[in-house]
Subunit: 301 residues, 2 copies
């Protein structure tokens, strides 16, 4: 399974990054291959200052070795090895009317001291962070999320959509990071689902990623915008930074376990502003977004 999924994300990284270059028309991905001192490594690809994308990262990593202290604690295991691989995508478009998107799909194996697998699972998800609210965009994204879920279980969409809203709740701001999507973790083998079923589900989500995002981008990428629209985008990007650095489990885990910092922090937006106590005018498009982000919404009902 680990080879199977690793091969899958290698191909998916190639596919997604070449498609994004095509959409951008100007920007090209810069690639860095890196090795992890404890075992394994990754291939980081970042495109900056494109025509459409201000910053886009499409990264894979496959790491292994003895369980870091933080993971031993988390899984209540005294000793053991692990393998983890995954693909992470964060796309920050230039245009303030085009949403930021994030996706991550990962597979984890844990071994006992004899090297036998004692646990294996998939995790991941994808979520959308708009700066201006367009209902059609959000519905398109969620319809795609539901479509891929429904092929595997009629429960998945509701369950993973709810987890996504819970995970991306920015507690100190009392608002959602964005309009959600899917979030799932610890998808293990059960009576109902084999580990191959889990693999097939995650591939279904991964294969659908571009279809869930590119049509939105296509409509919004060339909308004309003002300085004020751009200011709003940069202020909202500040909330994205706050969420990722204060609450995001993946980011904090990476920072505290000597992950490759530049690969982890490629998620941070390129240009960001913090204004003291900034609030948009009542009734404005900016205020509409804040209203949308104040509580989870069932987009497909």
């Amino acid at each position: 399974m680990k080879t199977q999924f690793h091969n899958y994300i290698i191909e998916l990284q190639d596919h997604i990054s070449s498609k994004l270059e095509e959409v951008d028309g100007k920007g090209q991905f810069h690639e860095d291959s890196w090795e992890r001192p404890g075992g394994g490594g990754g291939r980081t690809r970042v495109l900056e200052d494109g025509d459409v994308f201000e910053k886009a990262g499409v990264n894979i990593s496959a790491i292994n070795g003895s369980l870091p202290e933080a993971l031993k604690k988390q899984f209540k295991v005294e000793e053991g090895d692990f393998f983890a691989c995954g693909l992470s995508i964060v796309i920050h478009p230039k245009n303030p009317f085009a949403p930021t998107v994030h996706a991550n799909w990962r597979y984890f194996e844990m071994y006992n001291t004899e090297g036998e697998i004692i646990s294996q699972w998939f995790g991941g998800g994808q979520d959308l962070t708009p700066y201006y609210f367009f209902k059609d965009d959000v519905i398109h994204f969620h319809e795609n999320c539901k479509k891929v879920c429904d092929k595997h279980s009629s429960d998945f969409y509701n369950e993973f959509k709810k987890s996504c809203d819970e995970y991306f709740w920015n507690t100190h701001r009392n608002e959602l990071r964005g309009v959600g999507g899917l979030f799932f973790d610890y998808l293990k083998e059960t009576n109902e689902f084999s580990i191959e079923d889990r693999f097939n589900f995650v591939c279904e989500v991964g294969n659908n990623f571009l279809e869930s995002y590119l049509p939105i981008l296509k409509i919004r990428k060339h909308t004309s915008f003002s300085k004020e629209n751009r200011l709003w985008q940069e202020i909202r990007r500040g909330r994205y930074v706050e969420f990722n650095l204060v609450h995001d489990r993946g980011t904090l885990f990476g920072l505290k376990t000597n992950g490759r910092i530049e690969s982890i922090l490629m998620s941070l937006p390129p240009k960001v502003q913090w204004r003291y106590d900034y609030s948009p005018e009542i009734g404005s498009k900016e205020a509409e977004l804040l209203d949308i982000l104040s509580k989870p919404i069932n987009w497909l009902e």
Copy 2:
């Protein structure tokens, strides 16, 4: 003591904010008074888009009530009340050659269920974060730090300078946030120092703050700079954000205990950039700064 110190910081806030307005010449502080639901409140003053200061905050707060859960844990106390008051300053000048400065002086009292003081202490410090290295500036700042310390104990400067370097070590970047200064906490009554001695020491530091910073600002505030200098400043400000949101105990404590978010996050710089894996040219002024920040330096030896 609590009234005495509270009165002191009220006056010091007035003094420092009026001096900063004078230096800026254009910008004016916007003031927000706020109340804390659990008890107490504060007076936040922020100046934005000045001639010299891009963003400057000079905030006081005096809060009280029953100990929040996080503090009960930290102090291993089951029940009790507290009082805390302090002044916090963060100044982000426009000019990339002028350093950012941060200062904080605070006083804390903890009470048993009968309302008797069971513990009281002072804490605080001040530190400098340059974007370009000018040895004279750093020495001026540290000389002032030493001067105020030496009036109270010949041990203070070395001790609090070392604590400052330790506290502002940005672990995930493996570098210092800036060139340090002073950091002290839990300054309680001892055989050697009464609580009035502690009070007098903290006032000495507070009263000297402008003298330790304004002469540097005066020299640097009108230095001509290029787009590249400004880019470097904005990238380095990103490290400031990373430190404050990932490691700073005060910031995280505030975010996790429902502090007034906008007062806490006034510390974040106004315009910030994250470029993937940005590193300055070898031998450049930018690279010189990174070298300076790679390890603590004894500036006065």
